[in-house]
Structure formats: structure tokens, C-alpha cells
């Protein structure tokens, strides 16, 4: 029976821990359970099943940098003698149990007074006793229960747009009230008592004034800016409609003819704002605009006269000595002081395998240290390091947004149509009944209000965005939906995008016959810190259990070549073809004994699943390219998956990736780029649609238009399909709104438009659009729910 950890739900390893008739996968999970039990917080487990998160075994001083005054100040929002308030970003918040636990944190830690969670933003506001607990202690506390705080995020605007809610609420209040008061207008049958009518008319006037001046202000501003830039956008006809409605209504009120079109006026603005609200509900906990500074740590360890002190990254100076530990990012270009080191540059240059470096070689900012700690001497501060300079130059190229939304193109036609109808009806009525000209023209302007038009885009694309979010692609805003539907070229990065860097595949080509040889080889790779050695070690020990460590007479690791060990008179070598004197014409890692080949391995990154079928689906309509910062050792694997050899390029630098995309765009193509690392950042910015792929939704991703969950890479055809369908839905909605407009205009040009007609048409058209777009998108893609 497969048992899972009671706390986090992971598979129990070989040695599960037991307590209270429950099983745990590790001491961390068991520890959290004990803490919850002691503090009567076991309700945590009742809201969701296995809601816990496996705590990382973090070192004691992981958060030590938070106690530096300059850094602490950035996060403390309020402080007095007794308490301090801090707002922590806790990306691991994912369910109701999390909310329960975090808001009851004060029960588990007496130094915390109060905590409040904002689930959508994944934030926790904590009030704690300043004198009794350091900020680093607080951070460590949350880290230990499974919610490590993230301090790298740029200070996002935590203030919700309160003014927008006010505008919406005011418009809603006005709409409801005025429509209620206007009801008698609809059922008038010559009633004589007009005092009620006058009273409600003036009321309507009063209530609609703030709506005109405040709620609708965004539309006037946008229309004005658009006119100044000599572009036409949909806000221009919207403003025209608003003003026409208001002017006509004021005229009616002043002449004691009733509240005029005030109800439609308020309703119009209310529906527009709802559309805007729907469109703007983005993913507040994700960040689409991180630049490279979020990738670097906030503080580093400086070595001064044999002691280590922690300093903020901005205060690093040239010639400083820094200590860098396992898995930490190198903060600036520096020289290695130790004998050797292994650096992982995959995020920065795209090389998939760690690089071995020796003493006095240059280490570049952005690389991650694998294995043992090192000391380095700074040669260039972070901002002026080679790679960060490269990103700065390229990201300075602001992508000028000349992109015009489809709805704005429609707006132009719409305006012209309205103008022409006005002119024609003016001329006609000049002949037939000149007294009615004013009435007819104003009626046309009123009824041709693009309410339904303006709602089509937010709802069609907003629903598409939601659907895509459910399936694992999170868009920055609804414009991306349109752009996604129009692309014809897809460019993919290799390392980290097509491959999963956490897994390596080792193929052993021959079996090792002698078990004594096997033990020797296992001991050799065990002693090496190179990532390839670790991968081979894992592979060899998964199949064979014996773990007798063999003692060598001599053992050496030759950087860039391989391992060499001697026992008695036998020489064992593990390494590249040239090092082991093998001439097989294949790239691999060879094991030899006295220059006789025993076995060899092919070490590859694992490609994500579903790539072949992905390619088969998108090849039909799109060109596909692969740009890799790595060397060409995996060319054959790529070809096997189905990529076209001529469309694969290796050894790409961040600049060359950017240039390639520009080259395609100059040929008139619309390009989608999928990448993950900093080496893709300029290309992602340049592409029409830049998608950052991510294993862990809250780790650093470069600036992008959308973030894709790594497991959903194979669903790209579905996402493109949803976008294209959304465009179809948009057109259907536009057709409906035009139909409503035509009906309305018929009333207008026959001088039969009354407030009743307008009050019916407008809500009806809005509801049709909203319902239709939601219905179409959700039901079409119902089966795809993940």
C-alpha cells in the first residue's frame, strides 16, 4: 500500500517517521506536526488533505541579512517601542489550511501578536514584538513551518485601486436609483401629477453629476490622449455617447420634461466600468516585470580580516573578498581564490552542464555555485558586471507599443458610420421636417453608444485569460490574447525550456562485468563534485546496492578532462574521449581500466514530456526554431523529437537571440519566444509574445508577457487555439452589438427614440454580450479542464 506523509502528502521514503499513529516523510514534516499539536492547531489538517509543505532544511543564518538596518528598513512598515509590522510575501500560500495556520501563528509563537493573510496576493501582514524577536528570527520561523518568505520581489504596489472601486460603486448606486425613479416614465399614460416627476428629475441630475465628473473621468482622459496622439480608440465614441446622453437629459430636466436619459447614462457608465473591472483582474501574486536585480541576493558575505560580515549587495567594492556558499548566486564578476569550483551558468548563458573552473579564473555574476564554498575577489560590481551590462543595454531598448487593438480599429469605422448617418438624416429631415433635425441627430448620437462594443473585448478576452490561467498559462493582460492568436513563428530556448534542468538522463552503453571494477568506479564518482559525476553516481547506485568504498593509491580530478585513480598498478580513468584515449567518434563519458574501455555513458538533460506531439500539432501552422546557449551535443536528440535541423542554432548569446528575433520580425513575422533564463530576457522583451516558462511559479522569471507552468509546455497548441477562438467570439459579440445598434438607430432616425427604448436596449445588449462570451468560451473548452 502506497502511504503518504500525513503532513505534506509526499511519498514516504525508505524510512518513514512515526508519531501518534501517523507517518511522516521527514523530520521537518514531523516537526511541524508536533508544533501544531502542542498549540492545539491540528484543525490545520481538517480543511484540506495533506495541506502541509515540506520545510527546507535551511541554515540558521539564511536570513541574517535582514538584521542589517538598511535592509530591515525596507520591509518594516510600522514600528514603535513595543511592536513592529511587516508585510511578508509567502509564495507557498496555496489553500485554506495555509490561511488558518498563518493567521493562528500567534498561538504557535508568543512573540507574534497578530497576522493577517491576503490570499490573492500571497502576503501576510505580521505584527510582532520588536524587542523580543529579530526580523531574521521571524523569517526563519515561517521558513521552518514550510512558508519561506520571498524578499526578492520589487516593492509592488500593495495598494489596491480604491478609487476604481469607488467609481464603480457610485455608478452602480446612481444607475439603480435613477432607474427606479424613472420607472413611472416608462409606464406613463398621461398622468397629471407632475410634482413627483420634477422632484425625481432633479434628484437624477444631482446623483448623475458625480458620475459624470468622477466615475467616467478615465474615458475622457483616454479619449483626449488618443486624439492628441492622432490615434483613434474606442474611448472617443464612448465619450461622445456619454456627453450626448448627459446633454440631452439635462435639456429635458431643465425643460421639465422628466429625467430624460439619465438612467441609460448611469447604466452606460456602470456597465463600462464593470467591463474594465473584469479586464483588469490580473494575477496579483505573479510578477511579470522583474528585472535582473530580483535574481541576485539582497546581501552577501564579505571576508574582512578573517571574519565574515554580511553586507548589502550595493555596498560591494572592487577587491573585496566574498564568501559564496553552495547553491548561492555569484553576485558580481570576480576571481576564484580557491583551487577549483563548479559553477552552473544554465540560467545565465544556457549551458546545460556545470562548468569546472580553476584558481584565478574569472567567475561571472549570475552563475550559481554548486557544491563546496569558495572565496572570491571582486573585480567588477554587480551593475557593471559583464552580463548585467549586456542585459541593461538590451532592455533599454523600449519596445514601442504601436500595437493597436482590434477594438480600436473597429472604433474608427464606427465613428465614420455614425457621422455619415447623422449627416444623411440631417439632410433628409431638412426636406421633410426641419423641426426634428436636432432631436434626430442627438438621438443617433445617443443610441449609437458603443456600450456593447466596449464590453465585447474585455469579456471575450477576459474569459479566455481566465481559461488559460486554469490550464497553466498566466497572461499579463488581455492584449496578449490577441497577440497570441496572430503569431506565426515560435522560437524555443533549449536549456530549462525544452529540458528539465533538475533531471539528467544517464545512458549506460555497456554493462560492467566485474563487480570489483564497479565498486572502483562508484568510489571514483563519489569523490568528485562535478555534476556529471553526481549523475553517473546516482545512476550506478540505483541499480547496484553495494557500497564498499574503495581506497585508492592516488586520485586526481583534472579539470576539463576527467578523473584518474590508481590502485596497485592499475590505472582507472573516467572522462572525455581525448582524456581516455578513445576514438569512438561519439561524445560521451568513458570508463577505462589501463586504457581498455570498460563502459561509457551518454549524459543528457531530460527533455520534457509531450514534445513530439507538441511539434506535430504546431508544425502545421507555425515555423519553429530552437535557440540554445549550449553547445551542439544534443542535436541528434532534438532531431529525433521532430525539430528541423536547419532551424536549430547553438552557442547563442543573449544578443544573438535578440538579433534573430528582430531578423524574423523584419521579415514580417510575428514571433512568440519561450524561454526561462536571464539569457532569454532580451529576446523575450523583443518578441511579440514573450513567455517565461517556470517550474516554480514564484521563482524569478525574466520580464515577460505571460508565465507558463513548465508541465503545460505541451499544451501550447491549446493556448493558441483558445486565443484564436477568443477572436472569433469577439467578432460574434461585435456582430451582436452592431445588430443592437442598428435597431437603436432605426428608432433614432424615425424620431421615435424614447428613454424607455434606450433603457431596454442598453442592458439587454450588455447582458447578451457578457453571457454569450462566457458561455462560448467555457463550454467550448470544458473538456480541457486540468
Amino acid at each position: 500500500m502506497e502511504r503518504i506523509c500525513f503532513h505534506c502528502g509526499d511519498n514516504l521514503g525508505k524510512k518513514p517517521l512515526q508519531f501518534d499513529d501517523k507517518y511522516f516523510c521527514c523530520i521537518g514534516c514531523k516537526g511541524v506536526y508536533l508544533l501544531l499539536k502542542e498549540n492545539h492547531l491540528t484543525d490545520f489538517y481538517s480543511y484540506e488533505s495533506n495541506p502541509g509543505l515540506k520545510p527546507l532544511t535551511s541554515s540558521q543564518d539564511k536570513y541574517a541579512f535582514l538584521d542589517l538596518p538598511e535592509i530591515r528598513q525596507r520591509f518594516i512598515r510600522f514600528e514603535d517601542d513595543r511592536i513592529a509590522k511587516v508585510s511578508l510575501s509567502l509564495p507557498n500560500i496555496h489553500c485554506s489550511s495555509c490561511i488558518f495556520l498563518l493567521e493562528n501563528a500567534h498561538k504557535a509563537n508568543s512573540k507574534i501578536i497578530h497576522s493577517q493573510v491576503n490570499f490573492t496576493k500571497k502576503l501576510a501582514s505580521i505584527t510582532f514584538l520588536t524587542k523580543e524577536m529579530q526580523l531574521s528570527e521571524l523569517a526563519l520561523f515561517f521558513d521552518r513551518i514550510g512558508y519561506p518568505p520571498n524578499f526578492q520581489q520589487k516593492k509592488e504596489t500593495l495598494e489596491t485601486n480604491k478609487s476604481f472601486i469607488l467609481k464603480l460603486g457610485l455608478a452602480g448606486f446612481a444607475f439603480g436609483s435613477i432607474m427606479l425613479w424613472s420607472f413611472p416614465e416608462y409606464t406613463r399614460n398621461g398622468a397629471e401629477d407632475n410634482s413627483f416627476r420634477y422632484f425625481t428629475s432633479w434628484l437624477a441630475f444631482l446623483v448623475s453629476l458625480p458620475v459624470l465628473l468622477y466615475s467616467a473621468s478615465e474615458y475622457y482622459i483616454s479619449a483626449y490622449k488618443s486624439l492628441r496622439a492622432k490615434h483613434l480608440n474606442l474611448d472617443i465614441p464612448i465619450t461622445l455617447g456619454i456627453l450626448a446622453l448627459y446633454a440631452q437629459s439635462v435639456y429635458s430636466i431643465i425643460h421639465y420634461e422628466g429625467p430624460g436619459y439619465m438612467d441609460s447614462f448611469a447604466g452606460f457608465i456602470f456597465f463600462l466600468l464593470i467591463g474594465k473591472w473584469f479586464q483588469n483582474r490580473t494575477y496579483q501574486s505573479l510578477s511579470f516585470d522583474r528585472d535582473y536585480t530580483s535574481y541576485f541576493p539582497l546581501a552577501v558575505r564579505k571576508i574582512k580580516e578573517n571574519t565574515e560580515e554580511i553586507i548589502p549587495i550595493e555596498t560591494i567594492e572592487i577587491d573585496d573578498l566574498l564568501k559564496i556558499r553552495n547553491q548561492e548566486v555569484i553576485p558580481c564578476d570576480s576571481i576564484l581564490m580557491d583551487d577549483k569550483a563548479e559553477i552552473d551558468y544554465s540560467f545565465v548563458t544556457g549551458e546545460s552542464v556545470g562548468v569546472s573552473v580553476v584558481k584565478n579564473s574569472m567567475l561571472y555574476a549570475g552563475g550559481k555555485l554548486l557544491n563546496a564554498s569558495i572565496t572570491v575577489e571582486v573585480k567588477e560590481i554587480t551593475d557593471r558586471s559583464y552580463l548585467t551590462q549586456l542585459w541593461n543595454e538590451q532592455l533599454d531598448k523600449k519596445k514601442t507599443s504601436t500595437y493597436q487593438r482590434y477594438q480600436d480599429r473597429v472604433a474608427a469605422y464606427f465613428l465614420w458610420a455614425v457621422l455619415i448617418i447623422c449627416v444623411i438624416s440631417m439632410l433628409c429631415y431638412l426636406i421633410i421636417a426641419p423641426a426634428l433635425i436636432m432631436k434626430v441627430v442627438v438621438s443617433v448620437l445617443i443610441v449609437a453608444c458603443p456600450c456593447a462594443l466596449a464590453l465585447s473585448t474585455p469579456f471575450a478576452f477576459g474569459n479566455a485569460m481566465r481559461k488559460m490561467g486554469q490550464l497553466g498559462l498566466y497572461l499579463k493582460n488581455s492584449d496578449v490574447v490577441e497577440k497570441l492568436a496572430e503569431i506565426d513563428v515560435i522560437v524555443l530556448d533549449k536549456t530549462g525550456t525544452l529540458t528539465d534542468t533538475r533531471l539528467t538522463e544517464v545512458k549506460q552503453v555497456r554493462t560492467i562485468e566485474k563487480s570489483s571494477d564497479l565498486s572502483i568506479f562508484i568510489s571514483m564518482v563519489e569523490s568528485s563534485t562535478h555534476p556529471i559525476s553526481s549523475a553517473i553516481y546516482a545512476h550506478l547506485t540505483s541499480n547496484h546496492e553495494n557500497k564498499k568504498t574503495v581506497h585508492f593509491d592516488s586520485f586526481d580530478e583534472r579539470v576539463g578532462n576527467g578523473l584518474i585513480a590508481t590502485i596497485n598498478s592499475d590505472v582507472f580513468k573516467l572522462g572525455s574521449a581525448s582524456f581516455t584515449n578513445q576514438n569512438m567518434g561519439v561524445k560521451g563519458v568513458f570508463f577505462t581500466k589501463n586504457d581498455v574501455l570498460i563502459t561509457f555513458f551518454i549524459v543528457q538533460s531530460t527533455f520534457r514530456e509531450g514534445l513530439s506531439s507538441l511539434l506535430n500539432q504546431i508544425k502545421l501552422n507555425h515555423e519553429i526554431y530552437v535557440l540554445s546557449g549550449d553547445n551542439n551535443k544534443e542535436l541528434s536528440a532534438l532531431i529525433d523529437l521532430g525539430f528541423n535541423e536547419q532551424n536549430i542554432f547553438f552557442n547563442q548569446t543573449p544578443q544573438s537571440k535578440l538579433d534573430f528575433i528582430e531578423f524574423l520580425q523584419n521579415k514580417g513575422k510575428r514571433v512568440m519566444m519561450v524561454g526561462d533564463g536571464l539569457n532569454d530576457a532580451p529576446a523575450l522583451a523583443q518578441a511579440n509574445v514573450g513567455i517565461a516558462i517556470s517550474e516554480d511559479m514564484f521563482k524569478f522569471t525574466p520580464s515577460s508577457d505571460a508565465i507558463l507552468d513548465a508541465h503545460q509546455l505541451k499544451n501550447i497548441p491549446n493556448f493558441i487555439g483558445i486565443s484564436k477562438f477568443a477572436k472569433v467570439v469577439l467578432r460574434v459579440c461585435l456582430a451582436f452589438s452592431i445588430t443592437y445598434n442598428i435597431v437603436g438607430i432605426l428608432f433614432a432616425v424615425t424620431a421615435k427614440l424614447t428613454p424607455l427604448v434606450a433603457a431596454i436596449l442598453m442592458p439587454m445588449s450588455s447582458i447578451t454580450i457578457v453571457g454569450l462570451s462566457t458561455f462560448l468560451i467555457y463550454f467550448r473548452y470544458l473538456r480541457l479542464k486540468n
Binding site: I99, E103, V117
Partner: protein
């Protein structure tokens, strides 16, 4: 009659504006989950009272 209903309506508008400005609508999801958590006091009470 109309004036009374008007005053009530205005009252709600004012309350809405006050609530928005003091942060009521900043987070519209978490309160829905929060209200499902059981109070510790109520729990202890329930354990104390014998079933009738």
C-alpha cells in the same frame, strides 16, 4: 415617503464610500475562507457541554 427612502439610500452610499476607503474591499477572497474557521472558545464550550 420619498425623502425617507432617499435618506436611507444616501446612508448606504456613505457607508460604502467609508468602507472602501478604510480597506474593506482590498481583499475580497480571504474573508470568505476566514469565516469558516472555528473559534477556539466555541470548540471548548462544545466539548464541555454534555449531549442532551
Amino acid at each position: 415617503m420619498l425623502v425617507v427612502s432617499l435618506i436611507i439610500a444616501l446612508f448606504f452610499l456613505v457607508m460604502f464610500i467609508w468602507a472602501t476607503r478604510s480597506g474593506q474591499f482590498d481583499d475580497d477572497y480571504t474573508p470568505s475562507v476566514r469565516m469558516l474557521f472555528e473559534d477556539e472558545h466555541k470548540q471548548k464550550e462544545n466539548h464541555g457541554n454534555p449531549e442532551i
